[in-house]
Amino acid sequence: MVLMDESLLYKVALKIGGDEAVKIVGELKKRGKATEEELAKTTGIRLNEIRKILIRLHNFSLVTSENVQDPQSGWLIFYWRLQEDQLQSIIKAQKRRILEKLKARLEFEKTHDFFFCNDKHCGRYTFEEAVENFFRCPQCGGTLQHFDNSKIIEFLEKKVESLKEELEHE
């Protein structure tokens, strides 16, 4: 269980801030808490990059910060610490947010007709956009054709259902 949570922790860090976030999280895990300068020294990552990644991790609640007064100098020292106990709730919250986005997209796909031109790089247009442009692609000028989105709808329906089911059991 502990090992699984650890690999999950690194997966989350990787998704939030790439390899450098994994290094920072690894270092915080080892040390318990650390300053930005300490992290920069041990990981070899530039200080401004460390700050950027820590803020990203903080936005998703994976790390927290605390001010500690240095008993000798009286200065405030700014420490960062992992919030491993929040990991499962962070993931569940992400899943709930994704579910909402996918549901919104599914509704949009179901309630609109789409058109595309032969050059697929130009993208898709809604019926309203196609009418406005007289069924000509606004990017390349090609003729717009109807786009069958039934596979997208089918895929989204399955994904929404499986995510709902997963969230109910976690």
Binding site: M1, M4, L8, K11, V12, K15, I16, R56, N59, F60, L87, Q88, I91, K92, Q94, K95, R97, I98, K101, L102, A104, R105, F108, G123, R124, K151, I152, E154, F155, L156, S162, L163, E165, E166, H169, E170
Partner: protein
């Protein structure tokens, strides 16, 4: 005796949880943990009575067995790992009708095209 059984129950429950919504066949589970089918059946019945798992009767290779599915499963990222919305920095600003929206997001559209 009790401790041995508690350990076995915990181990069995973890394996069932890890197998997610697919569950695991009782016959395969006992092989995996090196338990006898009698010992295993007792554990799975106990877990079912405690409301921790579901046992669904299933025909496998011509023999009746049970599929064991945990009611509370291990939290994983696998099902959402490849969805571009996960830990997206625009998440708070992404909403239907706004500039950043799940209906117009290019990354989400590209991902959907690849999937379907």
């Amino acid at each position: 005796m009790t401790r041995k059984h508690n350990n076995l129950e915990y181990k069995v429950l973890q394996i069932i949880k890890e197998s997610g919504s697919q569950g695991i066949l009782q016959s395969q589970l006992w092989k995996r943990i090196g338990a006898t089918s009698r010992e295993g059946s007792r554990v799975s019945l106990k877990l079912e009575k405690a409301g921790l798992i579901e046992r669904i009767r299933e025909l496998h290779d011509g023999k009746w067995t049970y599929k064991l599915i945990a009611k509370k499963r291990v939290v994983t990222l696998d099902s959402v790992m490849d969805i571009p919305c996960i830990f997206c920095l625009q998440q708070d600003r992404c909403d239907v009708g706004s500039n950043i929206s799940p209906t117009t997001c290019k990354r989400l559209s590209e991902w959907l095209e690849k999937q379907s």
